[in-house]
Symmetry: D2
Subunit: 359 residues, 4 copies
Amino acid sequence: MAKKRIGILTSGGDCAGLNAAMRAVVHRSHILGWETIGLINGTASLLDENPEFRILKPNDMSGTVLRAGGTILGTTNRGNPFAFPMPDGSLKDRSGEIVDGFRKLGLDAVIGIGGDGSFAILKRLAEQGNINMVGIPKTIDNDIGMTETSIGFDTAVSVATEALDRLQPTAASHDRVMILEVMGRDAGHIALAAGIAGGADVILIPEISYSIDKIAEKIQAVKESGRNFALVVVSEAVKKEDGSKLEMTYQGGEKRYGGIGYYVSQKLSDATGYETRVTVLGHVQRGGAPTYNDRLLASAFGVKAVDLVKEGKFGRMVAWQNRQIVDVSIEDAIKAYQDVDLDGTMVQTARALGISLGD
Amino acid sequence: MAKKRIGILTSGGDCAGLNAAMRAVVHRSHILGWETIGLINGTASLLDENPEFRILKPNDMSGTVLRAGGTILGTTNRGNPFAFPMPDGSLKDRSGEIVDGFRKLGLDAVIGIGGDGSFAILKRLAEQGNINMVGIPKTIDNDIGMTETSIGFDTAVSVATEALDRLQPTAASHDRVMILEVMGRDAGHIALAAGIAGGADVILIPEISYSIDKIAEKIQAVKESGRNFALVVVSEAVKKEDGSKLEMTYQGGEKRYGGIGYYVSQKLSDATGYETRVTVLGHVQRGGAPTYNDRLLASAFGVKAVDLVKEGKFGRMVAWQNRQIVDVSIEDAIKAYQDVDLDGTMVQTARALGISLGD
Amino acid sequence: MAKKRIGILTSGGDCAGLNAAMRAVVHRSHILGWETIGLINGTASLLDENPEFRILKPNDMSGTVLRAGGTILGTTNRGNPFAFPMPDGSLKDRSGEIVDGFRKLGLDAVIGIGGDGSFAILKRLAEQGNINMVGIPKTIDNDIGMTETSIGFDTAVSVATEALDRLQPTAASHDRVMILEVMGRDAGHIALAAGIAGGADVILIPEISYSIDKIAEKIQAVKESGRNFALVVVSEAVKKEDGSKLEMTYQGGEKRYGGIGYYVSQKLSDATGYETRVTVLGHVQRGGAPTYNDRLLASAFGVKAVDLVKEGKFGRMVAWQNRQIVDVSIEDAIKAYQDVDLDGTMVQTARALGISLGD
Amino acid sequence: MAKKRIGILTSGGDCAGLNAAMRAVVHRSHILGWETIGLINGTASLLDENPEFRILKPNDMSGTVLRAGGTILGTTNRGNPFAFPMPDGSLKDRSGEIVDGFRKLGLDAVIGIGGDGSFAILKRLAEQGNINMVGIPKTIDNDIGMTETSIGFDTAVSVATEALDRLQPTAASHDRVMILEVMGRDAGHIALAAGIAGGADVILIPEISYSIDKIAEKIQAVKESGRNFALVVVSEAVKKEDGSKLEMTYQGGEKRYGGIGYYVSQKLSDATGYETRVTVLGHVQRGGAPTYNDRLLASAFGVKAVDLVKEGKFGRMVAWQNRQIVDVSIEDAIKAYQDVDLDGTMVQTARALGISLGD
């Protein structure tokens, strides 16, 4: 087989395991005698006259890189190529320039590590420019369809569970209700998994509407059972009780979206009279060292992505299904959004254990 | 449904997640209005005139217990009831006494958390005494058949991977080959998973015969590529190069089995001239705090085990198959030993990444 | 020496290492042939007709307790005995009842594990009731005078540093300024130590007034040096730029104090145009498993406290000074509040490394 | 002040915090307008025609480096310059060549991060070549004199304590005596600190002769108290009961020093009849991510070392004494070996808690 030159890039929100996936791509390509080019800061850098890139060698990836969170390539942060923000405030379709950028690099294929948003853009670019593209799914939210899990989810849940492990003893020492706000932009997978594993009494996810009264009842029942503390996990995607988005206002007048954990805290405290405290875990859920599961998945995904290039199968996303690495149509994957299955094992287990899901 | 009284016990080698499984059983039983009795130190304690047990309440299990390694019940350590070691050195069948012990406790069912060895004994006792039995699989070795994974494996691999993460920088600082001996009595699952995730160059598992020459070649290739260190993972179940068991002798004349990591270290050092160092992780792989995955699995298993009792399905083992909790015949599970699939994703990924499996 | 009966209690905010200190007291007392009584929920429980307590035995404290955060005794949460909140809303001096409670328990001495607030109350009770009292200092804030360090500080800094380790890669992947709000009610010790260890570019502590302009300059300098991310640590005790307290208002009208991290985030984003993100670590800093340092300190403190009882030295607090365990007047310790020494090693090191302290 | 060019190197066994110290040197030098040159693989690389070095910039050191174990410079591994092993097996004094190598680099000063062995060599080279030298002490063993602590010790004790935390639950589940062999070439500091913090019943250190009978008595007493497990920590520097060195022999005839944990295990098992198990932690104690304490110490040491260069104070070692960074004569520090103080706080605390030190 002729020597190939493949490009790799990371796109969208970062998470743990991106570097491990890149490492697998580089090792696998190297074994096939190919060259791997890492694009710095994603597709948008191709707009620059001299796009920044790195030739990635196996030994660059063998020490701390495998074990590090984040992405050594950086990620796209300049905007959608099809509606790119210009200095004058207007939006411009610059996809043509990016496609040209790809051509100049002389790549046989591009492996994009991203989420559904990134894949939608990459796919459009690939079609426009006749670029051979393969996708590797990553998202801490685990909401990409057609794959049971994506890179970054396992680590995010680990970090969130560990936070509950640290909140439990202090809750018990002070007779408190502890509220942990975890990530999950639209789906409640992190909250659900960490909540069950971390011994939560209440788990609020965006897939299920909640009532403060119901939660307060559960907290009361816990207290009446003789236990002096309770743990509540709230997905950041959860809305106010009436279904509207929370807005927070600072004294100075600034506004920002978010902080639903504080809202639930206040409401619960009002409804029950118990002391509540809030932790907003935030980005520590993204940046942790990848768990072994995320590294295994990333390794298997990376290998498969290179092998798809070898077989000439493009427009595909690698996926994990029933203990196998498979490939699926990237188009189908984008459409098949995966939120929490209300009849699935996780929800069933939570309900069977008496955990309140707010409804 | 009438109120039931169920017994629970842990049997065989301990691992992380046992307490989490018991907690799920207790919570689930409590919701059904049942009582859960924890047998202290497994079946053998039923030989005592007043067998030790604990009535387990949900709130006993809600704080640190969920998060703790080991088993709060202790585990059987006095021997096989069918060939019980007597003070005079003889072996006696005392199964009848144990069956009587179960009867005296007035249990509607017994949930045993164990491995295949424990299940074989429990099943025989159950048949002999007409006891309603359900099994929950646990083993750090992940070698129980008919379930994709068992309680304790995820934590063991996590601990082993973390050890590799700590060995890599010191290996790189000193131009060394680091050998990590991990657990796995008969199967190489821990070594394989931790090795891939931890960036090992060589992984030796009992399922694959190895040649020191082949390993030495790999190490040489690593060094020639310009990398100054290498990582080797050896499963404790690996034998000497010629297939015989290693025996170690101390100066004083004592003998013990084990320490295959030291053997590989010596052989590799002789063959390559490189400095080698050994770490024997040992029981830290059992006792760590359970990972969230082990706690999720334990929670789902515990719920299912109680529900099997509710449905009157006995002689069954709960199992994890394709993202579902199912139940299988405990007899079939015992027979279906699960070692490393030489054509599976893990072995394929390792080979595709250029990791030497010694062959 | 006659057999003694000593009481032990934990008071004020919990932290890691309280159980380790209790364990040392119990072990040491046991060796001397004494009995240790643990008061549940601190002094206020002595107001109950049958105050809750536990006889603590060495083996109760030998397994997971040593390693667990929080306090197995619970902590005072019902209010100041000298101004106790009554059901009708009034405040009543109930110190006499508490002193009576102590007498009824027949204690030879009481060892209180607390901070300066707790010590002030315990000392007053001790004087009023002629109670033999010894104090063991604990606070995550490390602001108790006359001891170089107190139980809980080391763990809190560890947890905060670990958060920075997780924020750094995600900051670098996305060209972001990450703001971490850490605990420290009045003193900036946690922020300063975690900030230096975690590679912060800016550390804001209540002991030093800051200017947003100065911080923005530092962030600009970092970016101009070619680094694409920055880390900012803010102590929760920090006020607004003009020295006033921040108040946050939710849409619904609720108010709460806190969230200074969000304030700094907004101001920095406005001043620099960079993307900022906030993490509020909250109570995870209290509840983590104690570090070995906190356990060593707790062990040495517990031993010394019992030995002070043996020697009949009361009204004393154990303390750590220049690698020695000493005892100091509890009165002096309360007066000698310890905030960050602006000429000390930590501040000097921070400045020498070019870390901005906001001034 | 004129711009300076300073060299930095790491020497001897690696440990956690070396990179953090280098980072502090680089940041501090940069602020002073100086250049920092990192020598790859220590002094011996100066024997090469083109010695390998790296110009170190602040931003190279700001991300993962601060948080990583090991040393990015590598460490001396080719031998003593004054008796350098030649290909023909002879030893040759090559110090002159190394001194010449330093000269060619045009360095104003050299900062060496090492232990007492490295300092002895560096000092001799410095004197011979009139080189301006400053030392930063590092050793996981904490046996360098005139400084209370050295870089790497805190992390090593953390890792060892964590191992005990994982061994305790499995010991308790199986009624076992767990033996943990920890590092410490000549001094027992790691064993003593980890043993107290980790709840050991017996701690064996080289500074105290032990008797198996005494240890067996302690284990018996633990069991008779009703506790079913025990934890034993053994420093690798401990000898056989009769004071001679242990030698282990493999079946194949190879010999190696070490494994004293196995020896103690066998003897204890013989003496008490209890089941014993061994873990040899090995190099995971060196390579872990540095604790915040090691990073704080490394930061303060790095700053001080540069400031000594600025002040023209050479032949000095930076040191930590009574919460201050000071400098001491490197000659004095080498002479003042620091083993465990048998009358110090740690030994007193251990004895007061009833921990057996084997005597």
